[in-house]
Symmetry: D3
Subunit: 143 residues, 6 copies
């Protein structure tokens, strides 16, 4: 069985700021620097999935399904939003690139399970900065 | 006298939304679409200036000065900000890409005058969308 | 009245080859080189339009309209196609980057007229090669 | 012994379409969507090889050899071609990005063996979509 | 007669430093800053030419000829070189981006004359900095 | 404990050439080709580090610290330099992309140890060529 990885990129624009309500303004500034102020990014998300080659079609994953899931689970809840407020399922986590990668993994993993294996979520905040997440190391939790 | 144009790019991240207080929510949504919601971008600004070649130095503009002016007049007032609120000198204009290009022109033109000629301000909201502004067509106003 | 230019990029994938039925194989090869063979590109089209700033909205063109026209007049007729055969309105022109730029201008000019002024069509065959077309120089024909 | 990976990118343009002769038109359309129509791409291929550092030259692989092999085994058979027809050694496989990655691996692996270790073939159909192949998992088959 | 512009990009790598032998070290440092030290760039050169559309071929310029001239007149004399020393025809000019644009214009203009019209030379020292040159404004000198 | 990787890119410009004093000119030319001549590049360095998620801040590494270390250990010693001569700690190694990756690893590993784990150094000589280094495979040496 020949396994291949396919990586798809989607983009969305969003605002965010980093701030803990239980910290003083000074503490927030010291830890988060200029990120305490509301600003925003053109985010790019690279999602890596794998599957076995179907020799009849020459495809390893259902790209149409992947695109629909990315639209529904990534672009819709995060695009055109202030990530610091009221994103469904995000809770009160600080909207860092790290937490965005984890959030996207949490939403994609169940939505894709059964059809393809989610290998990695990469979130670019800018061309010069990105974060990768490959899921919990606990194999029970992973699959 | 040999004239040349030099173009410099700077980047900043900011949030914005489009909304007129004197319009109803429905009117705002109809005209501005998803831009009524707070979101953000990694903006890139390409500033084109010209000057005569100094044959001793091989330079047509003072790039060090240009970089200092861009930092002071573009990146500082606009970076790490919500452009919809309280940007110095922006007034209550809607923070569209058009108005950003005009605002940057208004600040750069006087700051550069005397040392180099400002030819064009180009603002990229994303790699797929940009706006150019070359200043008022009124030659009195221009120089 | 403040005029601004807005530039929008759209992409599509297409195949093409250059070949004149009234030339011998040798003539075709001599003039068109490897382009006589069917191959393809990820084309990018940068469309530049201008309009007067509406100070109430901060916009100079109706981007929603522009996007619908680009989808209808550029991406739909040219995407997922062999440009050498049966593109609506293309006739028997050789599908060079030049002819694509002219074709896109011919379709956009009437579709946008009345709402915004078409300034330039730029077609990238690859990141290293593009063609610009600004319409006929005959001012009667232009407007 | 210090091992390093070097990654080289080459590009080529080609046409393709997905279609099985033993399927009905409706079946082909259902599975392959718009890919049933002839279109094309500017492909980019990133080839990752590894080797031990030669401390006299500071090099881990022979880049001149790698470039000649990429030209001979990738650009020549695939560039300026319709991948759906008569590519040497491609057989009747559907010319998907997955099958292109496997084909390129099959050709590079023997051509490079002895001089450097082929680690990965990455094929970009567009900046937003790529496939990776690392060869069969069977270690016998691999080396 | 339909005129179109075609723009071609070529790249080369070179070293340079800015230094006048008739200035003191302090003067050189004050004017040229860190550019007094030898360093280098991956230069990209965008050459814009125009010509009338040949309706039989769909082409406005002879791209094969343009590519040969760019190789001979730009890549060969400037690539793999220290631009501060002994570039043929460069004389003792400081190797700034401005002087490179002028030098490339001087070499391309006669080499292309008769077949196509050279419209602009753009030299990128980096993605964030480029210079444009359109030739002398003296129309006698230009043609 | 949730581990994440963060990747940061920095850039610098430098000159280099490949040449062994103990080899003849002919030997140098045969092995190093055009690299025997002084030329230069806009280098990009992608540094990949990992750390455990701090759930209070949503961050896995101290980006401010990472940026200061990259400036001090990469950009300052390598930028605006001829890498073939007198780079601190580089010794008489040939300034290949491989040796640059190893040098950057050697400097970052101790400077970052204690705060974050260095996972990989990637050095781009151009967009079409990069080298990765992940440190010695000897686990004693690595940590």
């Amino acid at each position: 069985m020949t396994m291949l990885c396919l990586t798809r990129t989607v983009s969305f624009s969003a605002a965010h700021r980093y701030r803990r309500a239980d910290w003083t303004e000074a503490e927030n500034r010291r830890v988060f620097g200029p990120n305490v102020s509301l600003h925003g990014h053109n985010y790019r998300v690279r999602v890596r999935v794998s599957g076995p080659l179907d020799t009849r079609t020459g495809m390893s994953v259902d790209l149409g399904l992947l695109d629909r899931v990315l639209e529904e689970q990534v672009v819709k809840p995060l695009g055109w939003r202030d990530l610091s407020e009221g994103v469904e399922g995000f809770g009160d986590r600080i909207p860092t690139t790290e937490n965005l990668a984890i959030y996207i993994w949490e939403r994609l993993q169940p939505a894709l399970a059964g059809s393809m294996r989610l290998e990695q979520v990469r979130v670019y905040e800018s061309p010069e900065l990105y974060v990768d997440y490959q899921g919990s190391d606990d194999p029970e939790a992973r699959r």
